[in-house]
């Protein structure tokens, strides 16, 4: 087995194992509950229509932004649970700015996007600053900030909102500042949000910055060992704050495709819960730009197909939450299990190559052994 393949094996085996586990657990739940197991899977795995494909791409892109926002923190071992609050407060401010239309046309859109990023990163930055100056753990501070964001947005919305029909919301984004949709899927009634491209840009930037720049290296180094990072001259405090700011900035973008492509204003019906889904997606994709994309598409696909469950199988669509949760849980368990198995395999191979009975002294590093073998 080549070294590359061996490194790749756990990456591939764990998600597959997780899918099998999720399939088994969900089937078991359905069996115990007395729901039609086969019909449920047939519905979920049925061929999606053009309409469904568009929805999967749209919500997948939004989930991807959310996933990347969480992943930036995770790479630093920072648990930014506050993605949810950050995207909602940022979406509100962006909708307000865009609705006021101080600038004409797309300049207005750009201003709104910038303000979303700024507000998102400022909101996350509070947690970052509290962490480095006051030692408040970011899990708790971001949870508190989520709640605070909810009530703050409700209050501010009441202050600036206009009533449309029987719902209140910010002033609608003027026609000229909206982003037209892309008609990529033939035969679909809806368009793909123009700002789906935002997800592509963010994804590429995340990948490049993380693996090709000094900053990305420092970020990963700090995440893996703060003490080693500090010893090599990286300011852990600075990195913590910067990572939170970046994470919040991306979180600020989550609502933008929705705002400029579908809702055109921020009201009480603006899609909730995207932040927590993003955390799950980031965990699923192991914070890798491509992995998170796969996770986001998988979650969006399950959500979309789950909507059919009530009609075709008479099963409540919340079943999808169970499937998603079990996938997240099993993917981390499977990764752990596969890693342990590979480690044991390597130990055995090292033992075989070094020679039986010669177990005195520290075991040689993996790389040396592999070089010696090849």
């Amino acid at each position: 087995m080549s070294t590359r393949l061996k490194a790749f094996l756990p990456l591939l085996a764990a998600p597959l194992l997780a899918l099998v586990m999720a399939f088994a657990v969900t089937s078991l739940v359905l069996l115990i509950a007395g729901d039609p197991v086969m019909l449920v899977w047939q519905t979920i795995l049925s061929r999606p229509d053009a309409r469904n494909v568009v929805n999967v791409i749209n919500s997948g892109a939004v989930l991807y932004l959310s996933g990347i926002a969480a992943a930036i923190g995770f790479r630093m071992k920072l648990f930014n649970i506050g993605v949810d609050g950050q995207y909602r407060i940022a979406a509100f401010v962006a909708a307000w700015v865009a609705g006021e239309a101080w600038l004409p046309g797309l300049a207005n859109t750009a201003l709104a996007l910038v303000s979303a990023v700024l507000v998102g990163s400022l909101w996350a930055g509070i947690a970052g600053v509290l962490r480095v100056t006051r030692g408040v753990h970011e899990v708790i501070s971001t949870i508190m900030l989520n709640f605070i964001a909810t009530f703050l947005v409700a209050y501010l919305l009441r202050k600036v909102a206009i009533t449309e029909g029987n719902q209140i919301g910010t002033k609608p984004v003027p026609e000229g500042s909206r982003i037209p949709g892309l008609q990529l899927i033939p035969g679909a009634p809806d368009d793909i949000y123009g700002l789906v491209l935002l997800a592509v840009v963010v994804g590429v930037a995340y990948g490049v910055v993380l693996s090709r720049t000094r900053f990305g290296f420092e970020l990963r180094a700090t995440g893996q060992s703060p003490s080693a990072a500090m010893a090599s001259g990286i300011s852990v405090k600075k990195m913590t704050v910067v990572a939170m700011l970046l994470s919040g900035g991306v979180a600020g973008l989550i609502g933008m495709p929705l705002l400029f492509g579908e809702y055109y204003s921020y009201g009480v019906t603006f899609q909730p819960g995207l932040g927590f889904a993003g955390i799950a997606v980031a965990l699923l994709g192991r914070n890798h730009p491509v992995g998170v994309a796969l996770g986001a598409v998988l979650f969006a696909y399950l959500d979309e197909q789950g909507n059919k469950l009530q009609i075709f199988a008479n099963v409540s669509p919340e079943l999808v939450l169970i499937i998603q949760g079990v996938i997240v849980m099993s993917v981390v368990i499977a990764y752990e299990a596969v890693q342990r198995y590979v480690l044991r395999l390597e130990e055995r191979m090292v033992g075989a190559s070094v020679g039986e009975g010669d177990d005195v002294g520290p075991p040689p590093g993996h790389d040396e052994t592999q070089e010696a073998r090849s």
């Binding site: 739940v29 955390i279 799950a280």
Partner: protein, 418 residues
Amino acid sequence: MTVILGPDRTVATAPARFWTWPRLLAAFVATLVAVAIMRAVTGADEIFTSGTLRTTVAAAVPIGLAGLGGLWSERSGVINIGLEGMMILGTWGAGYGGYVWGPWGAVVLGAFCGALGGLLHALATVTFGVDHIVSGVAINIIALGVAQYLAALTFTGLPQAGPTQSPPIPNLPDVTLPVISDAALWLERQGWFALSELGSLVAAVTSNVSALTVLCLLLFVATSYLLWRTPFGLRLRSCGENPVAAESLGLNVYRYKYVAITVSGALAGLGGAFLAIVAAGIYRDGQTGGRGYIGLASMIFGNWRPSGVVAGAGVFGYTETLGLRSGPTSVHALLLLLGVALAVLSIWQLTRRRTIVSGIAMALALLVIWVYLVTDTVPNEFTSLTPYVTTLLVLSLAAQRLRPPAAIGGRYRRGEAV
């Protein structure tokens, strides 16, 4: 991967006990007097009536139970952010158990469902060594799905129920201490400075208290005793402080962690059951409203001690209640208290030469008092966000004084020395 909730502190010192009985009594009297002055100055009587306090207890119990659950888990070294999910499982369990077996069935099934959630967390974190926060997040997703799926499955078509809510759960009996309750209510009505406040407090805890509330308060006492006064508790806490040392003494660390996390889930589930049985009388989708997270916060707020959890849950319950009972004026009155408290804190910090903290506290104090003077009421939304801002403030002012279990969030494998 090491995640430490709170500041990094490796050296544990045993400070002299600060809260001795005389000091506790003095603080208690001072609080009563402060509240009495507040009521006299601001005219916001609702801030300390037996009704408000009784609602506070009812609001604080579920949060406190979640916090107590977090305490069990974290004392054994495992972060439990899945409390919210375990609570959600508890609400469904109470809804279904209440329908099938009546109120006590609701209590038992609620706690049992929560314990199952805890068991899953134990399986993932202890047996498979998954990161604690990751597992907790996954449990929150799964639990939400399971509860809503099961609710739709079991409650659809039942009388007075639907896919998102259960039939009414028969209520548990209320407990009233006959003579003391009447005397306290009489004292409350007299309007005597500070004495009436004492009456309100006593009346709130002696009249019309749900039997489940009493049971839950006993659980706090039992936890205190079990974890700090028995060999079992010492061993369990040692798993959270130094699992390798505990292992070297022959403890089965895995088993202790399993027990602790399962109990943790059961307590959170009981908190959910309390919400369904006592607070609402019904299971409803989304009933917990993030109280599991608040419970976790109240535990950290309470420095990983049962008495601290009670205090933390009390603060959350009190501010939540004030928001509901003539919120705008009551919270407005509370601003004055907050302002004065911050000013006192500022002066105290100044005497200890912590000028920066002192300055921040004084600036906040002036800001709060200024807001108090220029406004008459506080908008409802601000009333609701009071507890969260309070938590953030308290944590940012006191996080350095907190001492989490030393090995919390750490990865422990049997036979692998760190």
